[in-house]
Amino acid sequence: MPTFSLKNDRLLEVTLMNEKVSALAGAMVAYEGQMKFEKLVLGGEGLFGALRRAVSNEGMPLMSTSGSGKVYFAHDAQTISILPLQNEKLFIESRNLLAFDQTLRTSTAFQGLRGGSGSGFFTTTVEGNGNVAVFSDGNLIRLEVSPQWGPLFVDPDAFIAYKGNIQQEFHFDVNWRTMIGQTSGESYQLKFTGNGVVFIQPSELKS
């Protein structure tokens, strides 16, 4: 299995021994050894997957890196975190995906309708055994969701990923809807209930 480690909090080091890793196209900053880079489209799940990508706009430019040696990935000096998956499914905003083990399966999940416009809201899922590296604007924060803490509310732009047995809903604060002429901020929030972990970034800038 490719080894993921952090050279520093903004640079991911992946060690390959005749293995493959998928990464955001253009995110390679340096490598040592013999490496080959090829274009890849997220998914790899046939025609249905391609169709879903076309609908969901979750089709992100990826590259496949294969070979033996060390390859370094970074993106806009953003903070990087490694999330190990053990037979789990991670729901993640594809815009925050930096790299993942190619043995993991990816797909697109429909998350419901967003707001009054009724546009669909999709996220990417990554499933299996292996490492996922995500980038965030500032250090990633892990928040626990459990019935004993009540629901967790998150700004949609700060949301990065979740895993576990979690229900996600859109939450509209009544006070917000009555605010007229305000340059809204949180016109809706994401509400999480169930059991699991939500990952957020300390920023509401879309990366």
Binding site: N8, D9, V29, A74
Partner: protein
């Protein structure tokens, strides 16, 4: 000699005692004591250098701070690294230089034969700009990066390939060369990234930043 110190990862302090430093124009954020500021160009001089500046656009504007006191420098929230040079030459893109003093000699290096850096990549595409800036001597060179500066060791058994956008500078006995991955060529016209890479061979250190801007 001027004393260099990091207040935090993004803020440099230089203590002057009737001394002078050069810094990127507009980067001074505060000072105490009696210090005067004036515009300057990359010094080190000679006609050759002036001609090169005209050609290369490497004559970027510096300012001098002269006097006694503490001067604080920062630039666009970038991270600051102090690189102590011990008689060697450091090659660095001029917009990544924050500060240095007269203990270092500056020059403009034509890298056409050696393989230039960002300029070389640009040159490969547009046919211009195969120059970079050099610093030689004993003293501190302060450089800027998006995120922390990362030093990659290069030795004859271990060449390193670097994305030109992530490159900041290098020192030691290194040969930079343009490297084009064949499989990347097929990317051209796509929203690829790494159509060119810089390959460094020899013995030395390559500095990169965790950003491909």
């Amino acid at each position: 000699m001027p004393q260099y110190e990091l207040v935090n990862s993004k803020l440099l302090k230089i203590v002057l005692r009737s001394e002078e430093v050069y810094a990127q124009k507009g980067s001074m954020i505060a000072y105490t004591g009696q210090v005067n500021f004036a515009r300057s160009y990359l010094t080190g001089g000679g006609i050759q250098n002036i001609a090169m500046r005209a050609v290369t656009n490497e004559g970027w504007q510096m300012m001098t701070a002269q006097g006694s006191g503490e001067v604080f420098y920062a630039q666009s929230g970038q991270m600051v690294t102090i690189v102590p040079l011990k008689g060697e030459t450091m090659y660095v893109e001029s917009d990544s230089v924050l500060a240095f003093d007269r203990r270092l000699q500056t020059g403009t290096m034509f890298l056409g034969s050696q393989g230039g850096i960002r300029g070389l990549v640009q040159g490969a595409a547009t046919g211009q700009g195969l120059f970079t800036t050099t610093f030689t001597g004993n003293g501190e060179l302060v450089i800027l990066s998006d995120g922390p500066t990362i030093a990659l060791d290069v030795n004859p058994n271990n060449p390193v390939f670097v994305d030109p956008q992530a490159y900041i500078g290098h020192r030691g006995n290194l040969q930079p060369n343009l490297h084009t991955d064949v499989s990347w060529k097929s990317f051209l016209g796509q929203t690829s990234g790494e159509s060119f890479q810089l390959k460094f061979t020899g013995q030395g250190v390559v500095y990169i930043q965790a950003s491909e801007r």
